[in-house]
């Protein structure tokens, strides 16, 4: 699986794609493979503010319930409506249609600690 180069990655396997001050957040292929079949996704409601490194919601799978973290501070704009009826979309296309949540970034400095695609892939390989 290719790791897209248009975004940055956290140690906890979220991807962060920044366009202007809008961030799209999702889980990596590696993360969803570890989770196995996703059964339910619940992100914080629109308007919720949070600091860098805080949980913005959770993903439930057959195996476990897992928090989702954002590397920078921001405010929830809205979560992916397609995942409500079809959480399996997260397994099928985690870097694309299976995105989790859109965020208005209030302080993007937290993203500096993230890895680019090469560094993230190297971490997985190591």
């Amino acid at each position: 699986m290719e790791t897209p180069t248009d975004r940055v990655y956290s140690e906890s396997h979220e991807w962060h794609k920044l366009e202007g001050d809008t961030l799209t957040l999702g889980l990596t292929q590696f993360a969803v493979d570890q989770l196995t079949d996703v059964t339910y996704v619940e992100m914080q409601p629109s308007g919720t503010g949070f600091d860098a490194g805080e949980s913005v919601g959770e993903v439930e799978s057959v195996k476990t319930t897992s928090d989702v973290y954002c590397a920078c501070a921001g405010e929830i704009i809205g979560s992916n409506p397609a995942l409500e009826d079809n959480p399996g979309l997260l397994n099928e296309d985690p870097f694309g249609q299976g995105w989790l949540v859109k965020i208005r970034v209030t302080d993007k400095s937290g993203l500096d600690s993230c890895m680019d695609a090469d560094a993230y892939s190297a971490q997985l390989a190591g």
Binding site: D33, T36, D37, T39, Y40, E58, E60, V62, K63, T64, T65, G88, N91
Partner: protein
């Protein structure tokens, strides 16, 4: 890590492999839900080679198992399988097992992968203590075990054997197929009709070719597809079957689990040759009014999954704990099994599961959650 004789088959079919009880096993291929639904609709092939297979042969084979097993062994016919527990002295559960009687003094015992060494140790301890004459052999790594489960499985097998589809539930037969000796039993862990097959490890490539010869697992309508441990767990949970480490354990009293059919408290040394280890403790439990907790089924509202260890509540009061939970593909809702204080609930009782992030409303239902249509 131990590798199953089907390891290459799993890789060839795109399995996601995980560590399970010291074995590298497939958790899923196409997806856990898809494999679950395939099993309920048609048929699936599960590699269960990680399960322990222990052969007991000799003069005192029956006596050993009578001592180790909660269920009566001496009344078994040749060709019969019996589900039983093995208990510790306090009446807790060491393991649940299938005993197969191959001859008067010859048995095969199928145990859980995680408990294999413990059970071998227990059986050897009884052999020493009683000075029993028998041969105990761990055949796990020389053999493979494959479960073929689903409503269309017996029709498929009828194409290669006229005898196997006539086997009654919990009976087995030994088949010579070309140069292979197969033990085929009408048993399983999914709630569906089907068989489990034990065969020599070196015969696996040929056997899998034969089993899958008219089957293309890529065809959406394939009668049989490979399925992993993920769906095996959701299938057994819908079927209300206990799993060691969840509904069974050394600190769980055997009478709490609703398996009384497999616990013969009337075994005697005179009639049966042995009482079983744990029998006296379990008689004391029964005579003091029964176990303090019982295993129940719970159906829940919403989409969150109940997990092992979550509290079961009645209003503000904690009355039990979840032992297993999943989002049931067949019922389309979350389900759980759990232990609750005896006498506190009955089918229809409202209960809540504390999922930390949310409280899940539910009601107690009879087990199993799912029964295959006849």
């Amino acid at each position: 890590m131990l590798k199953s004789p089907l390891h290459q088959f799993h890789l060839d079919h795109g399995a996601q492999m995980v560590e399970y009880a010291g074995w590298e096993m497939p958790i899923r291929y196409a997806g856990i839900r898809e494999e679950h639904e395939q099993t309920r609709r048609s048929g699936s092939v599960f590699d269960v080679s990680h399960m322990g297979r222990l052969s007991v042969q000799g003069l005192h084979a029956k006596r050993l198992l009578e001592r180790a097993c909660s269920r009566r062994i001496g009344t078994m016919d040749k060709g019969q399988c019996r589900y039983s527990l093995m208990c510790n002295e306090g009446g807790g559960v060491l393991d649940d097992v299938i005993v197969m009687r191959q001859d008067d003094d010859e048995f095969l015992v199928v145990v859980n992968a995680a408990n294999r060494e413990k059970i071998v140790g227990r059986l050897n301890a009884i052999v020493s203590e009683r000075s029993l004459k028998l041969k105990l052999e761990d055949r796990t790594e020389k053999t493979a075990m494959i479960a073929v489960q689903g409503p269309k499985v017996m029709d498929l097998i009828a194409g290669v054997s006229s005898e196997i589809p006539t086997l009654k539930r919990y009976r087995f037969t030994v088949k010579n197929l070309m140069i292979m000796k197969l033990i085929v039993s009408r048993t399983g862990y999914t709630g569906e009709n089907g068989v489990e097959v034990i065969l020599p490890a070196n015969m696996v490539p040929m056997a899998m070719k034969l089993l899958m010869k008219d089957v293309d697992p890529k065809d959406p309508n394939a009668v049989l597809k490979p399925a992993g441990l993920g769906s095996r767990d959701t299938l057994r949970l819908e079927a209300g079957m206990p799993l060691y480490g969840h509904e069974l354990g050394e600190d769980i009293n055997a009478l709490e689990v609703g398996l009384d059919f497999a616990i013969h408290l009337d075994k005697t040394a005179e009639e049966d040759g042995e009482m079983f280890i744990g029998q006296e403790a379990l008689i004391a439990t029964r005579d003091s009014g029964g176990p303090k907790r019982t295993l129940v089924g719970i159906e829940l509202e919403g989409k969150r999954t109940p997990r092992q260890g979550m509290a079961i509540r009645s209003g503000d009061e904690t009355i039990g704990v979840v032992s297993s939970g999943c989002a049931s593909p067949t019922l389309g809702k979350p389900i759980a099994m759990g232990f609750v204080q005896a006498g506190r609930v009955e089918p229809g009782s409202g209960v809540q599961v504390d999922a930390e992030r949310a409280v899940l409303e539910g009601k107690v239902v009879p087990l199993p959650f799912y029964k295959a249509p006849k």
